[in-house]
């Protein structure tokens, strides 16, 4: 195992991530859960940076850690599920949920790591991944600059090259609908 700085960074960030996630789901006070959720989002952003996805990392922090966490805190405030000692209890069948999650996790991880047919195993190889990458990579990607943001911008907006502009427009429509829906649902006189 190579232990370079990237691996160390990864391990620390992953530890923070998993730890915070565990604390989110186990805290008895909901405000604590919400705060640890913000930490989760931040740690995830750190992982993205490791993965050369700087734009996504920033977007993550902006939206998730910035807006969604605040939204959650607002909701907590509005529903007066305040910081009482037992504002975030577990329900009766929590042990069953834990069991299921463990099983599901094992079902994913175990084949992933041991099965010879998994995509990450030495048989399948990164080479296959690489060749398919050659085909599916956009033409624009091959000669574009190495700037992540620029490349993402290209992929999202470009009118002449292959781009995801239609899903982008639809996503904005989804946001619009969500805004209107949220307003309507939470109206007082509904």
């Amino acid at each position: 195992m190579q232990f370079d700085i990237a691996s160390l960074f990864f391990l620390i960030t992953a530890a923070i991530l998993v730890g915070s996630a565990l604390l989110v789901v186990t805290m008895r006070r909901i405000v604590h859960s919400a705060l640890f959720l913000a930490v989760v989002f931040a740690a995830a952003a750190g992982i993205y940076i490791l993965l050369n996805a700087e734009f996504i990392a920033v977007v993550q922090v902006l939206i998730y850690a910035g807006a969604v966490s605040i939204l959650v805190l607002f909701a907590i405030m509005l529903t007066q599920a305040s910081n009482t000692p037992r504002s975030n209890p577990v329900n009766k069948t929590w042990w069953l949920a834990a069991l299921i999650c463990v099983m599901l996790g094992a079902a994913i991880i175990f084949p992933l790591t041991t099965s010879p047919k998994a995509v990450t195993s030495s048989n399948a190889g990164v080479a296959a991944v690489g060749t398919s990458a050659g085909r599916t990579a956009s033409p624009a990607a091959s000669n574009a600059s190495s700037n992540n943001v620029a490349r993402i911008g290209q992929l999202l907006y470009s009118p002449i090259e292959y781009s995801y502009v239609l899903p982008f427009e639809i996503a904005s429509l989804v946001l619009l609908v969500a805004i209107i829906g949220a307003i309507v649902i939470s109206r007082e006189d509904l």
């Binding site: 329900n91 069948t93 069953l96 949920a97 299921i100 999650c101 099983m103 599901l104 094992a106 079902a107 994913i108 175990f110 084949p111 099965s115 047919k117």
Partner: protein, 710 residues
Amino acid sequence: MGVQSAWLIPVFPLAAFVLIVFIWRPLDLRDRRKAGLAPVAVPAGHETAGAHEIQAHGGPVVVVTEEHEGEGHGGHGAHASNTRFGWASSITAVVAMLASFVWALAVFFQFLSNATLLRNGYQVFTWNWLSLHINGPASSPGSAYAIGFHLDALTAVMLLVVTFVSLLVFFYSQGYMEGDPGYPRFFAWLSLFALSMLLLVLADNFLLLYISWELVGLCSYLLIGYWYERNDPPPAALKAFITTRFGDFGFLIGILVLFAATGTFSFAALPSAVTQMNQNLLTVAMILVFCGAVGKSAQFPLHVWLPDAMEGPTPVSALIHAATMVAAGVYLVARTFLLFRAADPAAFMVVAYIGGFTAFFAATIALVQNDIKRVLAYSTISQLGYMFVGLGVADTQGPGIFHLFTHAFFKALLFLGSGSVIHAMHAARNPEERTQDMRQMGGLASRMKITATCFLMATLSISGFPGFAGFFSKDDIIGQAFDHGQYILYGLTLATAGLTAFYMFRLWFMTFGGRGGRLFGFWGGEYRGVGDPPESSWLITLPLVLLAIPSVFVGYWAWNGRFATFLQGGVQQVFVNPFSIGLTYAGIGIAFVGIGLAWAMYGAGWRWDLAFTRTPVGAFLYRILLNKYYMDELYLWIVRKGVLGLAYAAEAFDRYVIDGLVNGTASAIVTLGADFRRIETGRLQSYAIAIFGGAALLSAAVFIFVQAVK
């Protein structure tokens, strides 16, 4: 006249029956209604609609006295006179029976004279009722269900007995039942009985035999319950029918077993067919067939109905329960004698031992009974046992059937004689009191001379007094038992002979003799009853005389083996003069001992038994015998505990198991449904847990079991 037209023999009583039922009786009922008489005898003490009607219409007032005199246990109808259609009914019946008797006589004489006929028998007619192809050793298309009449020596003898006794009883009933409101009904049932008995005797196959067997049982029921308005006869009739039904059940199964094994019902074809069937199966089938005889001929353990059947009018007792119907069982065994012979000797032993045991058993009960008809009833059971011993032990049907032959005469005479006595007692006294209790009689010989003389002839005959008919037949059977090495049966029959002599003469002395009579209390004596019993009219005494003659003399037909030879179709049978064997004198001796003891006790008055019955042992024995060994109570207990217990168990099974299953299934489903609907909790997390739980399980299962993924 003759064997070709022998089919007419049952037709005469059939015609009488039809005539009475459809013409005389309706007319009689119409007459009675017009005269304001009740159609049946009403128990005294009740205000009847008839009485009201009389007072309203101002019609004849005869009915009131008639109804009062209809009461009286064991007594008979009133002393009023018959209606004209009543006379019409009785005359029709008597004439029909006379015609049958004449025809039977003709047949008999033809058999006597024609040796070929005697040897081969004669098939009067055959009718193919159903033509089905049955598979069996004796089958041919249509042979299984062919009905017909067959005449042979046994049939000829039986025809003679049945028609003769029936004729005399019919004649006797005219006088005995005179004035009874149901007079036409009585003769209708009597004719029906005669018809069925003749059919039974003439039948050539099991089908017709069984049908007439049941018909005879029906007539017995109808006649025992003739006075149905009283309390006692209906249950007695029901008891008779149901008890014989038990026997008939076994009988039917026996017939069906034989049919299943051989494919035929016919008596002609069966003897050869049964040699091809499994002998053990044949033995079982014959024992089952014998069950029918046990029921009909009132052997142990199905004997309980016969004493109660004495609730019927005395002519009925004489005809059915002494001479003919109860002899049907004996006739059955004789008719199927060849089948019994082909079976294991155990079948004959069953017959003989049941007969022997019953003979002794019934004789012990008869020792202490006080009702005159009950003594005769037990005597009948005992003598029937003798007949079965005779059939079971001997090589041919000869001894058994001869005893049946002689027994019919003297037993009918005994019953008719007792009827005469009862009639006289009834005339002499207040009808409210029992008129059949021998303790209220005594010394009647000097008052009712003809009745007494005839009765004495019969009593001597049944006791086996040397020279009379009963002596020859009884002694033959006792001798046969000894000759064939059946010493137990020999002992039983010998002891029973002594007991029979004793209790019959006890009856004689208590009724006709007594203290103060001539010859040390033999003839006449003190009368312990009330009033002055008169001699009965000639209508009653003539049949007595006519029966007394054969009771004495018919035994001589057995001399030189003539009867036995006749019965075997002309094959000469060995005859041993009874007076030459020492064994006979044992029988004679024991009969004399019985007679002498009875004379001493009941004639001369040496009543040592009165002191004996006061001792503990004596009282115990007396009580057991008087209560018929408590057999009725035993059966009632069995029914209560056994049958009803089984019924309750079955009902509980039905209620708890079957209904439980059904209802339980329903409630289980309802409960299951109620439990299952709680899965729909309405909470999303439960559903989510279900989804993901299923996914986790599935993926684990896939990874473990599916090779492709590994």
